[in-house]
């Protein structure tokens, strides 16, 4: 004889210690089980796409910094690739290699925060995230050396990068790259085979392979579900076809697989940086483009493998100094559409852990 229960609506509201920004989940709970979940976002909308129409092509680059504020270099890179596709500019070799180094360093930094925040949501009281922030500080110092800022870099330019690296950069990067695999091993020893994490994250929040492909997910969310798709190998941009690296994939598509995929991707990024440092040529870092660029009339779409997924910029130009339309395909928003199906039937604690494992940045979702 079943007990009659009545579901009630709980608002895991916009202001919450673990919603990675301002995101509201209107959950319908039956006891502890999530029966339905409705995501409400838009609290961080700043009108970036509209603001981009009123700034010059170079002036949009600081705006793109603030999309996914934890991975600014990748945003800059995607936008600059789109403008170069429109305008047909070439980029010198040294600039390409510097772009790759910065993008991979940024990938490590973003994954550190993603994994740390996920473990924080699982309840590990800040210890893993503090260790990971300690390593992230080193990466931010490296970026600080190159472009003067630690979070919103404004480093890539149309036709190259803005500054060449200073003398102290390569020795510091070498020291970092030699010690980073040791730190990743330390994180593994702390938490990889931890029984409680296995119980919390294995089998929880499963995203089936067909659903992942149908909603056009990208990044670790897609690769965790078993699809071996990485834009750096499938549609190589910049000089990625000159490096050797593997693409880690998961099998089941649960939170644990996504967590493992991110850790392995960090290892592969270190490998790419080592190869790029060896192959770094001398030369200019920026080709000669006019101060105010006027690309010919047309449209272009450029996508890259950002840490959170596939980040794409669609630019329409009408031969003026400002873009006519700049549309942004944000990976976090597309990955978020699967949240409802991943969470129904699980408990509140699993909803929070699953949300943490998708790795959302609200700056991208709301733009």
């Amino acid at each position: 004889m079943a007990i009659k229960t009545e579901p009630f609506v709980l608002n895991l509201g916009p202001v919450h210690p673990s919603t990675h920004g301002v995101f509201r989940m209107r959950t319908t709970l039956d006891g502890e089980v999530v029966v339905d979940m409705e995501p409400v976002f838009g609290y961080l909308h700043r009108g970036i796409e509209k603001l981009a129409e009123e700034r010059t092509y170079t002036g949009v680059i600081p705006l793109t910094d603030r999309l996914d504020y934890l991975a600014s270099m990748s945003n800059n890179l995607a936008y600059v690739l789109a403008v170069e596709k429109l305008a047909g500019t070439t980029v010198p070799e040294r600039a390409e290699y510097l772009r790759v180094i910065m993008a991979e360093l940024q990938r490590i930094a973003s994954h550190l925060i993603a994994v740390g925040a996920f473990l924080n949501d699982c309840g590990a009281f800040m210890t893993p995230i503090l260790y990971m922030i300690r390593e992230r500080e080193k990466i931010l110092d490296l970026f600080d050396m190159v472009c003067g800022q630690r979070l919103t870099y404004n480093y890539m330019r149309v036709g190259g990068v803005s500054h060449d690296i200073p003398d102290e950069f390569l020795p510091a990067l070498d020291k970092f790259v030699r010690r980073m695999p040791g730190f990743i091993d330390e994180y593994d020893r702390l938490l990889e085979k931890n029984e409680i994490l296995l119980v919390r994250a294995k089998g929880v929040g499963i995203l089936p392979k067909e659903l992942a492909i149908n909603i056009s997910a990208g990044g670790p969310v897609l690769r965790g579900s078993g699809v071996k798709w990485d834009i750096r190998k499938a549609d190589p941009y910049s000089v990625y076809d000159r490096f050797e690296f593997d693409i880690p994939t998961g099998t089941v598509g649960d939170c644990y697989d996504r967590y493992r995929v991110r850790i392995e991707e960090m290892r592969q990024s270190v490998r790419i940086i080592k190869q790029a440092m060896e192959q770094l040529p001398l030369g200019a870092v920026k080709s000669e483009v006019p101060h105010l660029i006027r690309p010919p009339v047309g449209e272009a779409y450029a996508h890259i493998e950002a840490p959170k997924g596939e980040l794409g910029f669609y630019l329409v130009s009408d031969n003026s100094i400002a873009p006519y339309r700049c549309a942004i395909r944000a990976p976090s928003l597309i990955n978020l559409t699967a949240l409802r199906d991943m969470v129904r039937g699980w408990k509140v604690a699993d909803a929070i852990a699953t949300f943490g494992s998708i790795d959302i940045c609200m700056g991208e979702v709301d733009r």
Partner: protein
């Protein structure tokens, strides 16, 4: 020595009546009440300080070090801040219950210290049912938590309070069963006699009992990995979301007082209390209490927390059968060797514990899974 003989001799009908105290029983009572209050307040503040600095060092950072030299006055600063805050009562909540809840939660935690021996025979009252009194009193604290959750008129708080009541009630049973194992070996329920029977500390004679007691007691006082009702990342602050000011301070104190009580009980039951070679017994007691507390917050800094259905499954499917088997094996040993336990039983017990843990981990599944909606 006279205190000990007198209290042992009078046994169960009267409390310890030391004849050489001037003024008799009431002076003894007054002195010990003052000692216990001072001990609890000072040690709780020391624990708050130790935990914050210790967690900081375990996480590669310093803890608070600005309030006073090395941050020693940090708990005092917290207390002053909390006293000066406005007392907010939810408009639609139940006001009387809201006011009573911290009191109901705090008083039992304080009452536990009446039977803990600080030194040879130095307790407030040497009940002959010492450990049973502790178990009975600690169940009342859960009621205070539930009252807090109910009176806050807040869905998060109610959710947190219900989780807490379920957890505390489930973990009482393995707790009591593991205590029963210790009582069997010691031969008495009185805390003083349990310490005196420990020429070999019971952690070696009852390793499985120690582990079960430790985990069940961590669940009782809501420490990681069972702190899901104050899980900051899920339900904000659980049952004490709507509390501010001195009432919140009382809940905060309740948590640390219970942890202190738990450390003191573990020291008495398993680590042979105040016994030790060179230093005065009170100092040994303090050292062991601090060591147990270190273990507790070391665990807190490392492992994530469990989900509520996993917590319940762990209690009922894993700890309860292990506690029963432990009791059974202890009983067998007592019956087979009635004149004291020889030392080689230590190794036998540790081997049995290893085998049981291996077997149980292989065979039981932890709760939940997806529910069809």
């Amino acid at each position: 020595m006279t205190i000990v003989e007198t209290s042992l001799g009078l046994g169960g009908r009267l409390a310890a009546l030391p004849p050489d105290w001037p003024g008799g029983y009431w002076w003894h009572w007054l002195v010990f009440v003052v000692i216990i209050l001072i001990f609890v307040v000072v040690m709780v503040m020391a624990f708050i300080y130790m935990e914050r600095r210790g967690l900081g060092r375990l996480q590669a950072r310093l803890g608070p070090n600005r309030a006073g030299p090395f941050g020693i006055l940090q708990p005092v600063a917290d207390a002053i801040k909390v006293l000066l805050k406005e007392d907010i009562i939810p408009a639609k909540g139940d006001k009387l219950v809201h006011w009573l809840a911290p009191v109901v939660a705090f008083v039992p935690a304080l009452m536990i210290f009446a039977v803990i021996p600080f030194q040879d025979g130095a307790l407030l009252v040497d009940l002959n049912i010492g450990i049973l009194y502790i178990v009975a009193i600690s169940s009342v604290a859960a009621l205070g938590v539930f009252m807090a959750g109910w009176a806050s008129n807040n869905k998060f708080s109610l959710l947190g309070a219900m989780r807490d009541v379920a957890q505390v009630v489930s973990y009482e049973i393995p707790l009591i069963l593991s205590i029963a194992g210790v009582v069997l070996v010691a031969g008495s329920l009185s805390m003083n006699k349990i310490v005196e029977a420990q020429s070999v500390p019971f952690i070696l004679l009852q390793p499985l009992g120690f582990l079960i007691f430790f985990m069940a007691a961590c669940a009782e006082v809501n420490r990681t990995p069972f702190d899901l009702l104050e899980a900051e990342s899920e339900i904000v602050a659980g049952f004490h979301t709507e509390y501010s000011g001195m009432k919140f301070a009382l809940f905060y104190l309740v948590e640390y007082t219970e942890v202190l009580a738990l450390s003191a009980i573990i020291t008495t039951l398993f680590l042979s209390g105040w016994r030790g070679p060179l230093l005065p017994p009170f100092l040994w007691f303090l050292i062991k209490v601090v060591a147990v507390f270190f273990l507790i917050f070391w665990v807190r800094s490392t492992i994530p927390r469990l989900r509520i259905d996993q917590v319940m499954a762990f209690a009922w499917k894993c700890l309860l059968p292990l506690a029963l088997i432990n009791l059974f094996i202890t009983g067998l040993e007592i019956v087979a060797l009635p004149d004291g336990l020889p030392w080689f039983l230590i190794f036998v017990n540790i081997a049995i514990m290893a085998v049981l843990i291996l077997l149980w981990s292989r065979f039981f599944r932890l709760g939940g899974g997806r529910v069809e909606v």
